[in-house]
């Protein structure tokens, strides 16, 4: 199992790193989609099937489309690429890396977490009962949030005046 997970982890990590580093915006967005796909596979391997499919649907199907549309709509062109390196950015990057390094270090080398046996996967039916039972309010709220986000996104992205919308 560990091996499978390790392979999937690499499949997921590699496009992510590449996405951050490549200069082309479209490429970058597509690479992100790859990473999300890998992550969905990873979830699947973990035994969280429903989450994995949700991940694939939402990210690969939804977010990526939105992102690509945004890229196209804003037409940044090919010049808007990686910004020139600066001391500040180097510091930021370094800090991010050291942050992760410390997280890694703490989780891998100093962690006393016992490596537990995997718990039994939750059957889909049980998940449904959970969502419809104790978490019903939360589900409804999330639905509300999504609706609001939809309306908000429409309002924000819609042109102020129809006349302006033509060239936007």
């Amino acid at each position: 199992m560990t091996t499978l997970l390790a392979v999937l982890a690499l499949i997921c990590l590699a496009p992510a790193v590449a996405a951050v580093l490549v200069r082309n915006l479209i490429h970058s967005a597509l690479l992100f989609v790859l990473a999300w796909l890998g992550l969905a596979a990873f979830y699947l391997a973990l035994g969280a099937e429903f989450v994995a499919f949700a991940q694939a649907l939402v990210y690969v199907g939804g977010v990526s489309m939105v992102a690509l549309f945004a890229v196209l709509l804003t037409r940044p062109g090919r010049t808007d690429l990686l910004p020139p390196p600066s001391a500040a950015r180097a510091v930021g990057g370094l800090a991010a890396v050291s942050l992760v390094a410390s997280m890694l270090a703490s989780s891998l080398f100093w962690s006393r977490l016992p490596s537990m046996e995997p718990t039994a996967p939750i059957p889909l039916r049980r998940l449904g009962e959970l969502l419809a039972g104790p978490y019903l309010v939360a589900v409804l709220l999330v639905g509300l949030i999504l609706t609001v986000a939809l309306i908000g996104g429409l309002l924000l992205a819609a042109p102020r005046r129809p006349a302006e919308g033509a060239d936007a």
């Binding site: 500040a88 950015r89 510091v91 930021g92 800090a95 991010a96 050291s98 942050l99 410390s102 997280m103 270090a105 703490s106 100093w110 962690s111 006393r112």
Partner: protein
Amino acid sequence: MLHASHLWLIPALPLLAAAVGAAAPRTARRLPVALALGAIIGSFLLSLAALAGALAAPAAKLTANFTWFWAGSTAVRLGWLLDPLGALMSVLVCGVSVLVFIFSTAYLRDDPRLGRFFTCLSLFVAAMLGLLVANSLLLLLVCWELVGLASYLLIGFWFERPAAAAAAKKAFITTRLGDLGFLLGLLWLFHATGSSLFYDGGAGVLEGGALERLAATTLPGGWTAATGIGLLLFAGAVGKSGQFPLHVWLPDAMEGPTPVSALIHAATMVAAGVFLVARVFPLMAADQGLGGVPVHALTAVAVIGSVTALLGALLAVAQTDIKRVLAYSTVSQLGYMMLAVGVGAWEAAVFHLITHACFKALLFLGSGSVIHAAHHEQDARRLGGLATRMRFTYVTFLLGTGALIGLPLVFSGFWSKEAVLHAAELWPVSHLPFLAGLAGVVLTAFYMTRLVSETFLGRARGDGAAHAHESPRAMTLSLAVLAVASVAAGWIGTPAWPWLQSQLTGAPVAAHGLGEGLGLMILSTVLVGAGIAAGGWMYAHSPRADDRAPDPLARRFPGVFAALVARLWIDEFYAATVGRLLRGAAALAAWLERWVWGGLVSLTGRVAETTGEVNRAIDEDGLNTGFDRASDGLRDAAQRYSRAQTGEVQGYLRAVVVGLAVLALLLVWGGIR
């Protein structure tokens, strides 16, 4: 007969007149004048009724007390008191006021603010009458301060003149300095006895129990509470009655219209101090006979009184302004009254107060008549020769002078001064007050002779005097009545028939006949004669040729004369000491405000400054220099920090991440797992 509970009517009438006058249109002339006159005449009649009531039972203290308001669960009580002292004084004040009011209608006929003048006069009379019939030290203080206010308004009546405005302020402040003592004395008395009522059926502060307690309460240094309170109250009297060392305001107060000078700076208001001391005499005398008291309250009164009597007379010698001569004369005569109280003869003081009120009002109104006639010329050097032009004024002025210097047997001043000197002669403590009184007699005769000679004799030395005419009927009428009073007022208290003294003390005073005081009378007559002779020889014998000729006295004693003209530099002394002290304290306070308190704030701000590497010097001229510097420092520091606020989200995030990383590394390397 007027019952004590109706006594409030006496001050209420003029007060009402004042209130209506204040509310009347400012250009109104007839209404305020008529109201004021009507009110004062009404008060005069009421006073007479009160006097009748008081004389019916001179020893009884008829009171009507009431609660003003409550402080906590304690009542603050006031009251009215009907006794011969207050009633006599009321009659006197009302009587002189009526005459002065009548005089004023003519004297200020052309003044556009005539109505205002009478409103202020009414306020003054109301306050003065309230003071006289008050049965509570607190009520007395209230009226006392209102008298001060009225005096302030009247001295500064011609407020467009800077000198008048300054004199008014000086009078108010100087008397208020004494009033602080009064206030403290009142507070102390309140604290010690829980009351401020003079007479309250045995519980008053001037009645047996309270007095005994006050005299028995001793303080460190051998002082008794009675001595302390007495001295503090006396401080108030010193201010109001122009006693040394607070006499400086009284001559300056002559900037007011002459009727004001006559009414309040000669006859009534300045007498309030004497009245106060006479009123609380039992308290002042409570420490008499106690051993170990460093200074008896009355001894201090006697000393101050005799110093003032002599000093006032001395300073009067060198003045050239008619009113100022009379003002210093008033200071001197008030000194006599204080002296009398100090040596224990408060009834003699009141006697002298009454006679002095009559003749000094006469003299001031006479001088007013002169000034009016001479087109507001009041420098004696530029007058002269008025005896023929203003015969009536001259005669009445002479009568007043005779009363003041104490020409024997007929004139009122002779009898009252004799009573004062007689008491001083018998004072067991010291003979110095007596000697000072005798010296004052000579000086008084001298300076009054000088004044009369310079003003009325010789020939006119100025335009004003040259074109003077006798004053109108309203003025001469007042002069006539006062002249009669000046002569006759002394007959009520002669040694042969001491009616006044008996009434005041409430017990028959034995007539000691002329024999006992004969020596003193002869002595004082000789002294008066000497003074008149010296004055007549120097001034009447050879009148000065013109207004620039030097004073005969200055030719003989230039140093002394210069010192007297400069009023012994007492004003300058105050300016150099008290004034400078006060200014210094104020400057210190301002300095503290600016640098120390501001500086503390600035120190706090310096911390902010250093963190922001800010060193911009800021100069703002103001009390809060320090604070401005501090807030500017804060702002600059903030600006410096705000450079980091580039507005770029990523910059902010970077900062957050750097912080997080440092934190995480610390945690990791610190070994927290």
